[in-house]
Amino acid sequence: MDLATLLFSALYQFGDAFAFLVLSACGLAVIFGMMGVINLAHGEFIMCGAYVSVSAARAGLPLPLAVLAGALASGLAGMVIERLVIRHLYERPLDTIVATWGISLIATQGTLILLGSSLQGIGTPLGGFQVGAYSYSLYRVVLFLSALAVLAALYALFNWTKFGVIARATIQVPHMAAALGVDTRLIYSLTFGLGAALAGLAGGLYAPTMTLVPTMGATFIMEAFVTVVVGGADVFLGTAPAAAILAIVKASMTSWQGQLFGQIGLLVTVIVVIRILPRGLSGFLLRERA
């Protein structure tokens, strides 16, 4: 087999793993990395996005708009949940584990009761393309590009806009932000909503490629947490390199020894990286920069 084919396939596998890690993680990165809320209902926001996207697409909306609709729906759900529940827990972030676990139970079982045990899929658009001996799904390339776009947009939003700076300030010292004139409730609400919307976006983007069941969010959870934590406290600095490292490990372990090793490799990488860099990748990058 010629080198170009080999190279492309390696790249494709890397990109595929990278996209899954980034898109799984970015919503969590905002909610957990920024707000300190350990959101065990992350998977259910993803599920929500997927369900809404598919329903919208089935109702005739073009897929890109349907995906956005899914993100929007998740975002709104997130803002409602923030208002009802999360808002009261910022002082004690560890309790959010229990609350969001409860929300996740309600969401999965509620979906099962209301919408049944599964939803019919809509099929993957765009078809395949051939490189050398292999054919690939074009939609997977779109997923990869979406992941890059989301990363860039997030970075810009949180580092270059007023909202971003204020949001980070609010999360660090909320009472002081309030005393400086920031409507912290609004900021929390928007930030949580943004995180939920990103989760919904991931759900919408992956919906055409997956089984749609109330528990589907669970398959994203481990990857999401692992990426965010390896990234470290500064999520916008950390998520991209974390996803890149993890994707390399996962893709190469999977191609070498199969999916089990891919998964175990991922988890072991987490353990090793955190041991070497106890504050995650961003902690390391920041120290170097200071």
């Binding site: 529940v85 584990i97 353990i271 955190i274 106890p278």
Partner: protein
Amino acid sequence: MAFGILTRLEGPQTLGRGPAFWGGFLLVLAAACAYPLFADGYTVGNTVYFFTWVFMALGLSVIWGYCGALSFGQTAFFGIAGYGYGILTINFGSAYGFTLIALVIAVALACLFAALLGYFLFYGRIAGVFLGIVTLSVTLVLERFMAQTAGPEWRIGAARLNGFNGMSNMPQLTIPWPGGDVVLFPDVELYYVVLGLMVLVYLALRILLNSRFGNVIVAIRENPERAEMLGYDVRRYQLVAFVIGAALAGLSGVLYTTWGQYITPSSMGMTAAALPIVWVAVGGRSDITTTLVGTLAVLSGFQTLTIYGSQYALVVMGLLLVVTVLAAPRGLVMALADVLARPFRRKGEGA
């Protein structure tokens, strides 16, 4: 002397003191002892089942509630001890009280693993959520690994690991007895043994937590830097607390395994790993009494819901969790105590 012990059972680190508390304690204990005389085999066996989990919860309370290190991977120790017990007893049987020795060895295995892992973590100064995720990763790795050991090559002596289907039919705990060993079926026999263990562990933890050691671990929870600047080797205290927590999780693992003669990789999976955190948090993590009561309450409450709640059970469970967290910031037990104490409070006190 007795008074000396009693004062060591009390202190700022544990709720409840004085004759009223200990009177109540003895009353509850007496009720717990008498209760199998009035209940059927199912209820007793089911209560033992709830009791088996309490040890893991108490251990988590020590490491998380007291020492401030959230371990998301207590199930790793649970599983190691459970499998350890299975492997030992399937290979060496239950004669001459070997099951008890197996229990001790299995718990020791969990401790050893915790000591290695804890050394790696705490001496690497890993803290906060990073600790949570690393411990979670460890338990997930164990789960993934054990899940694929279905093949015949995965055996230790006579014991097949048996993959995701789990290892089963290991002997139950037996107490050697002249004229025939006492087999501890999950009924009255096991009940008294586990109840005894629970009381023992509870009292021992009270003494430990009110000792100098207890003072230091709560100090580490509050401000590890300050604790270090008072001359305490923070890492060592964290490690010891972690190993104690692991030992208790391991004890739960062995008891669970003998209760149902079964242990499975899912016992180390994501859901299983999150459950102890839910029990402990709902009860009130920073006290072992509230943890104990809370864990039993959540376990029996959720089981009851599952029995009677049909498809709505999980929804109601979820709602209850959310409401509890919102309405009872210090945990369910403290909130209940507050409500119960309200009529007795003098007017004008507080606001």
